[in-house]
């Protein structure tokens, strides 16, 4: 086999008359250093049975494509689709999209396969060899390029003019800074409370009395109805929100809480465990409501301390709370201690009480950062 492709291709005199296309092609191949070393028509005898069979197959595939495309248009126009109403069990409408997909896939499949069968079966097979000519440029070319660049450098003469060089560098730097400063400056926002915006997004939730004219914030359901103790059965839990304007919307994405009504013995366990946590412990040992709990009710932040998903899979018998995103598990009866998974910190407990009208209120804000940890979070 030739290792100098193209050289095996016979030379063709392009000025000659009556050249076939094949001969002209070969002249071009020679210029591109290509040699066709194997060229075989799949059907040397035209019009054989086998060839006609392939032709019929290709024709059938193209026909299939057309039929699929027409069916697609027909389904698209007359298929059962109601743009005004979709109810559960809409019946016929459920096959609208599958029918569209099937027809479209059929049309594309027909075209694709038809083209492929045509190319694979009817066109001549060849093995062509082309020279790569890769690698570095010739020594001359490299020398010329280097010399040219060198001469351009001399023409510019920036090396000889240190003042211009220095000031240009300065100017370029300044422009670069300016270019970076605009987009960064447009977007940058101070995460910490400042004089202009006193809210502290990482330490404050909707339970801060600030949002309720300094009065304790009520716990409400998603429809803003306040919650009485008897609304949550023993062994039950309820997702609650701060009872302030917008409190149940995503404006207060850190605020959702889980209100849990523990069984008596579980509540006892939790209360006895709380004494280790000064923030939530009973201040008056004889008053079960003097800590963060209220009777057998306890409220934890619903926002996982790991990545911020709502940790809301409450197991009422084992008293575990599971986060469905990364499977952190918190033990409710031990101040929501993380007992499994990647979470490292307890879910913060919200101190609660019942107000004069018998509704749950928050005694104050959590007092710690809610949700995922961050660099400047204090190591409480």
């Amino acid at each position: 086999m030739s290792h100098e492709p193209g050289h095996g291709t016979p030379a063709v005199d392009l000025s000659a008359d009556n050249l076939t296309n094949r001969q002209i092609l070969e002249a071009g191949l020679r210029r591109d250093d290509i040699e066709i070393v194997h060229y075989e028509s799949p059907f040397p005898v035209p019009g054989t049975k086998a060839e006609r069979r392939i032709e019929r197959l290709v024709a059938f595939l193209f026909f299939l494509a057309g039929a699929g495309a027409i069916a697609f248009v027909a389904v698209y126009i007359w298929g059962p689709f109601n743009p005004d109403e979709y109810t559960f069990g809409s019946g016929g409408e459920d096959w609208y999209t599958p029918a569209l997909g099937f027809c479209l896939a059929l049309a594309l499949f027909g075209i694709g396969m038809g083209v492929l069968v045509y190319g694979r079966k009817l066109l001549p097979h060849e093995i062509a060899i082309q020279d790569r000519h890769d690698g570095a440029s010739s020594d001359d070319d490299r020398k010329i390029a280097a010399g040219t660049l060198g001469f351009i450098g001399e023409e510019l003469g920036i090396q000889r003019r240190p003042l211009i060089k220095a000031t240009l560098g300065l100017g370029g730097l300044g422009l670069g800074l300016a270019a970076a400063a605009v987009p960064i400056g447009m977007m940058i926002k101070d995460p910490h409370p400042t004089a202009e915006h006193p809210e502290d997004p990482y330490f404050e939730t909707g339970f801060n009395p600030r949002f309720n004219d300094g009065k304790p914030v009520r716990l409400v359901r998603e429809d803003y109805t306040p919650i009485r103790p008897e609304d949550v059965s023993i062994g039950g839990q309820m997702t609650a929100f701060p009872g302030i304007p917008g409190g149940t919307t995503n404006e207060f994405a850190d605020s959702p809480i889980l209100l849990i009504h523990l069984r008596d013995n579980d509540a006892q366990t939790l209360r006895s465990n709380l004494k280790n946590y000064s923030k939530n412990a009973l201040t008056n040992p004889s008053d079960p409501n003097s800590g963060s709990m209220w009777n057998n009710f306890v409220v934890y932040s619903k926002i996982c301390t790991h990545a911020g998903c709502p940790a809301s899979l409450y197991e009422q018998q084992t008293n575990r709370l599971l986060c469905p995103c990364h499977q952190s598990q918190f033990l409710i009866t031990d101040n929501a201690r993380p007992i499994f998974g990647p979470a490292t910190r307890r879910l913060p407990m919200l101190p609660i009480d019942v107000d004069g009208e018998g509704y749950f209120v928050a005694k104050g804000d959590f007092g710690v950062a809610i949700g995922p940890a961050f660099w400047e979070r204090p190591t409480q």
Partner: protein, 534 residues
């Protein structure tokens, strides 16, 4: 005046003349038409990604006509009755409209999503091919790096798209992304607050993700894909070693007509598969997830598959958080920082510099246009399988709650299994792959030395049984075959399949050995058509 007759037949030639007079295109076009491409099934994997990208551009453009990323809260009163009267963002409402009120909107949305999954799946599979065959070596290091960037850009693009409909699943994903950004030391809160324009979720994030999703990232993707494919043209494709295939030539077929026809047909097939999936397999049923609310989550909340390995690493990470005090203020380095920021960093840098590490280790400065068979570079293959197994353990762990639930395994046991597997499986994969590669290589050498097994057992006069081997090389007067060097070619395993250029099996499921072709009828002027046979 004589009216000039309009000659249709001369039109192509006239046009070609006109074009060439202006652009001097005849030479370059000839070069393009004649360019030789090698043909192998594994060279078409990257094309799947390229074609998916084109489908993504087509379907995505359609979707932009109906989608509005606004986070303004609206009360839905559209076609999907089970959500009527619900408060939701405008973005989610328009996503529902695309699915239920726009004729054909659902199939386009689903095709867009499936094409995105296919895009990244094809990139990963293509990347494995490049790695295991050594196609990243000099002079193609830059294209390897571009390919890696394309994966991460596709990853970003996919995540942005996943977040746009503002359903409960995408909102949960964004929330976790916030947690990840917050974990970055020193600048975490600044980056998060700046990107979200305040506290999560704020009002601007979808607008920003939208412009990133439809303009910024696709623009960069398009530019890099152009360079990626352009470099393949300029540097010419690699090829498998074999008879007649050298480091300085390309053996294949000319780009036109047959190669280009195959590419066009393959594009249609990829499109057909995406249409099939988009119509018959439901993906991302946002109407079941509901609008995003900070308090709402669903069991089995996962990202799309290409992000799932990060979810897996996060799930397996033990609860290790660094807390320390400096100058009277406490600081925290959260557990989530390691698996979601540091790990992707490592996963980017290591493959990025791998071509250079390998070249340095082997003191290899030469150019490589011939591919390696994986067995011929056991160490690289083993390292690659180590990385793949690492990735697969993370990927499986990303769905471990679904696996635990559907196969009745304890969730905690799944997590522990993943934690142990991530340490044990990769070294095991290295060892096993290394042994298999060496074994395959050894077998090839044996075939070269002794020939192909014929399956014919002969009993010697002394009673011993031996199998007759068909030598691959001519034999000397003693019947010993001439010595053949091991050069990394495919070695025949069966009788009558000698060399890669020999007659190959026909049919994929049902190999039919074709008998030798009959001689062409003498009456035909065969010379004209077939004379270039070597």
């Amino acid at each position: 005046m004589k009216r000039r007759k309009f000659d249709v037949k001369a039109l192509p030639a006239a046009t070609a003349n006109a074009v060439d007079e202006r652009f001097k295109a005849a030479g370059p076009i000839r070069g393009l038409l004649n360019k030789v491409f090698p043909d192998h099934w594994s060279f078409l994997l990257g094309e799947i990604a390229l074609f998916s990208f084109i489908i993504l551009l087509l379907t995505g453009t359609f979707l932009t006509l109906f989608f509005d990323p606004s986070m303004t809260e609206v009360i839905y009163n559209g076609a999907y009755a089970p959500l009527r009267g619900q408060a939701m963002s405008h973005a989610y409402a328009t996503s529902l409209d695309i699915s239920f009120a726009v004729r054909g909107g659902l199939i386009v949305r689903q095709m867009h999503h499936w094409a995105a999954l296919l895009f990244l799946a094809a990139i990963v599979v293509h990347m494995f091919r490049i790695f295991f065959t050594g196609a990243f070596r000099k002079p193609r290091e830059l294209n390897w790096i571009i390919g890696l960037l394309l994966f991460w850009l596709g990853f970003l693009e996919g995540f942005a798209g996943y977040s746009l409909p503002d359903d409960a699943l995408s909102g949960t994903g964004l929330r976790i992304a916030t947690g990840i950004m917050l974990s970055i030391p020193i600048i975490g809160t600044w980056v998060t607050t700046s990107l979200f324009g305040g506290e999560f979720p704020g009002h601007v994030i979808l607008d920003r993700l939208y412009i990133a999703h439809v303009l910024l990232v696709p623009g960069i993707l398009l530019a890099l894909i152009t360079v990626h494919v352009g470099l393949v043209f300029v540097q010419k494709h690699t090829q498998w070693p074999g008879p007649g295939r050298t480091n300085s030539n390309v053996v294949g077929e000319r780009m036109f007509p047959r190669y280009a026809i195959k590419q066009g047909g393959f594009f249609m097939l990829v499109f057909a598969v995406v249409a099939f999936l988009g119509g018959l397999f439901q993906i991302n049923p946002i109407w079941l997830f509901g609008p995003y609310r900070a308090a709402v989550v669903s069991a089995g909340s996962q990202p799309d598959w290409y992000v799932m390995f990060l979810d897996g690493s996060t799930r397996l990470m033990p609860a290790w958080e660094l807390r320390f005090s400096l100058f009277g203020h406490g600081y925290t380095l959260p557990a989530i920082f390691w698996p979601t920021v540091v790990l992707p960093g490592i996963l980017t840098v290591l493959p990025l510099i791998y071509p250079f590490i390998e070249a340095r280790k082997n003191r290899d400065t030469s150019r490589h246009n011939l591919l390696n068979r994986p067995r011929d570079v056991p160490q690289r293959t083993a390292l690659g399988m180590m990385a793949v197994s690492f990735y697969v353990v993370l990927l499986v762990s990303g769905g471990n709650d679904i696996i635990a639930d559907k196969f009745h395994i304890s969730l905690n046991a799944m997590t522990w299994a993943g934690r142990i597997a991530i340490l044990v499986v990769p070294p095991l994969a290295y060892y096993i792959t290394h042994r298999i590669a060496l074994g395959l290589q050894q077998h090839d050498r044996e075939v070269l030395a002794h020939g192909v097994e014929t399956g014919i057992i002969k009993r010697l006069p002394n009673g011993a049984f031996v199998e007759i081997h068909q030598p691959l090389a001519p034999v000397d007067e003693h019947g010993h075959p001439a010595h053949l060097d091991y050069v990394g070619w495919t070695v025949p395993r069966k009788m009558n399949r000698l060399g890669a250029l020999g007659p190959a099996i026909r049919g994929f499921f049902r190999p039919i050995e074709r008998p030798a072709p009959p001689p062409p009828p003498p009456a035909l002027p065969a010379k004209e058509r077939d004379k270039i046979d070597a």
